[in-house]
Amino acid sequence: MSNKVKSKVDIFSLFYKNSLAVETVIVLLVFQLLTNGGFLSFRNLSNLLMQGAICSIIAISMCLIIITCNADLSAGRFLGMLGMVAAILQVNTTIPSIVVVLIVYAIALIAGLAHGFLIGYMKLPAFIITLTTQLVFLGINQLVSGGKIVGPATGIIDKMGNGYIPTFIGSNNDTTLIIGAVIIAVYIFMIISKENKNIKQGLAEPRWGKIIPKTVVISILAAVVTFILYMHKGFSYAMLILFVLTLAVSYVSNNTRFGRYIFAIGGNVNAATLSGINVSKEILKLYTLQAMLVATAALVYLGRLGSATTASGNGYEFTAITGCVVGGTSITGGRGSVVGAVVGTMFMAAIDNGMSLMNVDASLQYIVRGFVLLLAIMLDAYASNRKAKTVQAA
């Protein structure tokens, strides 16, 4: 049994743990050079965050699904269908937009329960089931729209995608600065109090040398993002929705029974069952949560683009899944984090955005995205193999 801390520096694991940060810096610099500075403009970065927000919302729960060794390939088409239903209701009826929102969530609830029932209780493979249902969603989208573009979105839905937080004084985005400052202050306070508690309870050696630099870097990043948003229109509601949902689901995944059980199911489903976990029920809950988040993403999408088409949402599930894996969610299940998945998806959005700015051919963009996912999966597999080996050796 090895109780002693390993003294040798493990270069690969150091790289792997920080790979997202390293890649982000490289990608940002490359795009900055190739787009002659267009990439790192306030306007584009603010834009990029908005674009990334939709897929990131999907990634929040997609990552939990991947952690349980399942998948949801229907998310993109499901988003498209819900967006289309909302658009048709807004354009063709006089139903108030808040009711439209409720109808969308109601449809999502039904679809989520259906997924959960088929995958959780009937124990059918998620991969095939969602591959099947995405076809159904696409069909419904085409059927109700007749293949037409439907818009514009109005009311609360428009706000969800296009609105920005109002300011106190004039056009100065003061609220953005206040929110940003509060977030950073709360973050630093939480980190310090958590670490203090760990030390007090004797759970960990003090490791301020590691934590302080990390906290500083993240705080600076948050400050930079806040500043970018401040310079360009301020905090949008979409960003706020993403931020709140990320924190909420992240907290739930670590501090509720549901969250614990998700990781247990992914880590070892047999042991989870014998530990008294009702696996079917947890999977049902999870797919319901996923449907709710996709519905939220659909409303943000509709609000942002103003209209829905039959192509809406195509490939979003791919971006979200790639983002999860890039962000450290293990495809073999049991490991991952919500925050990592969101950051990873933003990274994917940055690649998309950069390539679009450079006018890269669409076919080439597909190839690049495919290879990014391949690379991320290879890294993940390599890392878990290494881990398995060290565990055996010890």
Binding site: M1, V5, Q201, N255
Partner: protein, 508 residues
């Protein structure tokens, strides 16, 4: 004096931060059975991995028939005539006996397998081993004892000179173990050199010619088997005198905690009744033992009571004085106070990639819920720490990954998890399988303490001394039925009586 076929001298192997082997020597004579004993983590497996080439970076010398070797992988060591049969069998369940034996060793002509010759050879091998098995039988349909013999046949087919058996009898019931030991003796007569790793000291003493004891990565002694006794072996392994392993309990036996009547369970996938008309009861403060061969339906009986078995269940259940239907699922059973701890802790007990705290509290999270939704982590960790201390889990921190712990400590985590649910009926399936004597004794003491607190304990075990030493009453199962119930309150039951019931009369 016979010559040495294998000499491993001054072997040292280090992992980052830990010296797994420290100047270990092992010398194997031609045609002898050499036993390697030691507690878990003593370095037995690491030494064998050095020999098989899985660990190629060690210091020291390895001589095979006098020539220095440094194997770089299993392929090389196999080619040199060394075959290891691991505790976890390496057979492919969906292939048949012949296909398994010739896997990676197929007899081919122009790339086409010559099946006739392979089947002929397989039949010959099986005959030599006195196995009455059709070479076309799917390996998954064989019992674990027979699978082990197939593994040996596979090794023999490769013309190995040294056969290494790593805990071969751990999962076997007594009778299969005896068969295996006899086979080892026969192989020895034919000139095979065998390294035998086992926790079962009785077997070690009866079958081996010489014994090497390892402790904490060091060689303690190598002597002829006749010079050891069970006590000196245990002394060498743990470095201290062990008191009587089983203590007499003096706890009050109370009301019936759980009673199953005409209990049957049906396996829909394989279309057969795996438990038939079982009648069983356990009282508060009582430990009952369930003995029987592997595959007799003991685990299935336990799982069906625990609500973990998919498939139809018939029969009546009485739980704490009230008649009720069987538990629909495991969460219902745990909420009512029944817990089952599996025989296979890695596959069915633990989330290996998670930490001790996570695993320990997994079944009792409801106790730490704050305000209806969120887990109170302080309360949870406090309770986990208390349990870890009570069960003396050896770890630097409760945030240590469970996969890094030794077998005994992993089992203690499983037990902490069980106890934390505050069970009234606790089913322990092979609670001491594959763990060292020190940890075993601690687990026996723990079981005694729990019985003293009024918990009803059902212990499934293949180790008869354990059954006899721990149980107030013993149920014996055979082919899905309970074939015998014995009173053991005076500790007067004998192994022969149990073996008779388990085999249905054909006993030694």
């Amino acid at each position: 004096m016979k010559d040495f076929i294998l000499q491993m001298n001054h072997i040292t192997k280090e992992f980052p931060g830990v010296k797994a082997l420290d100047d270990v020597s092992l010398n194997l004579k031609r045609g002898e059975i050499h036993a390697l004993v030691g507690e878990n983590g003593a370095g037995k497996s690491t030494l064998m991995k050095v020999l098989s080439g899985e660990h190629a970076d060690y210091t020291g010398e390895l001589l095979l028939e006098g020539a220095i070797k440094n194997f770089k992988g299993i392929t090389e060591s196999e080619a040199a005539g060394i075959a290891i049969i691991h505790q976890e069998l390496g057979l492919i369940e969906n292939l048949n006996v012949c296909e398994n034996i010739f896997l990676r060793n197929e007899i081919c002509q122009n790339g086409i397998i010559k099946w006739d010759e392979q089947y002929r050879k397989t039949r010959k091998l099986l005959e030599d081993l006195n196995l009455n098995i059709n070479p076309r039988t799917r390996v998954g349909n064989l019992g674990i004892g027979q699978q082990q013999l197939i593994e040996i046949a596979k090794a023999l087919n490769k013309n190995c000179k040294i056969l290494i058996l790593d805990e071969p009898t751990a999962p076997l019931p007594e009778k299969d173990s005896e068969n295996l030991l006899q086979l080892m003796r026969n192989l020895k007569e034919e000139g095979m050199s065998i390294i035998f790793i086992s926790h079962k000291l009785g077997e070690v003493l009866s079958v081996s010619d010489s014994i090497t004891i390892l402790r904490d990565g060091q060689t303690i002694s190598t002597k002829a088997a006749a010079e050891y006794t069970q006590d000196t072996l245990i002394n060498g392994m743990v470095g201290r005198q062990l008191d009587a392993r089983f203590e007499v309990r003096h706890c009050k036996i109370g009301d019936v905690a759980l009673k199953a009547t005409d209990w049957s369970a049906y396996d829909g996938i394989n279309d057969k009744w795996i438990v038939r008309n079982a009648n069983l009861e356990v009282r508060e403060g009582e430990i009952i033992g369930i003995a029987g061969m592997i595959g007799a339906g003991r685990t299935e009986l336990a799982m069906s009571i625990f609500g973990a078995l998919e498939g139809a269940i018939t029969g009546k259940m009485e739980y704490r004085g009230k008649e009720r239907t069987h538990f629909k699922n495991t969460s219902e059973a745990i909420a009512e106070g029944v817990f089952y701890s599996s025989e296979d802790r890695k596959k069915y007990g633990l989330i290996l990639s998670s930490d001790i705290a996570y695993n320990t509290s997994l079944s009792s999270l409801a106790k730490f819920i704050n305000g209806g939704l969120f887990i109170n982590r302080d309360k949870e960790l406090g309770k986990v720490k208390e349990m870890t201390k009570r069960l003396t889990v050896k770890t630097p921190s409760i945030l240590q990954q469970v996969g890094n712990l030794s077998g005994g400590n992993q089992q203690k985590v499983c037990l902490s998890k069980a106890i934390m649910t505050e069970p009234r009926v606790l089913i322990l399936d092979e609670p001491t399988r594959g763990i060292d004597i020190g940890a075993k004794t601690e687990i026996y003491q723990l079981m005694n303490r729990m019985a003293g607190e009024g918990i009803a304990i059902i212990m499934i075990s293949s180790e008869l001394p354990e059954i006899l030493g721990m149980s107030d009453r013993v149920y014996v199962m055979k082919e899905g039925e309970i074939s015998g119930v014995f009173d053991n309150s005076n500790l007067t039951l004998t192994q022969e009586e149990i073996a008779l019931a388990a085999t249905g009369g054909v006993t030694v």
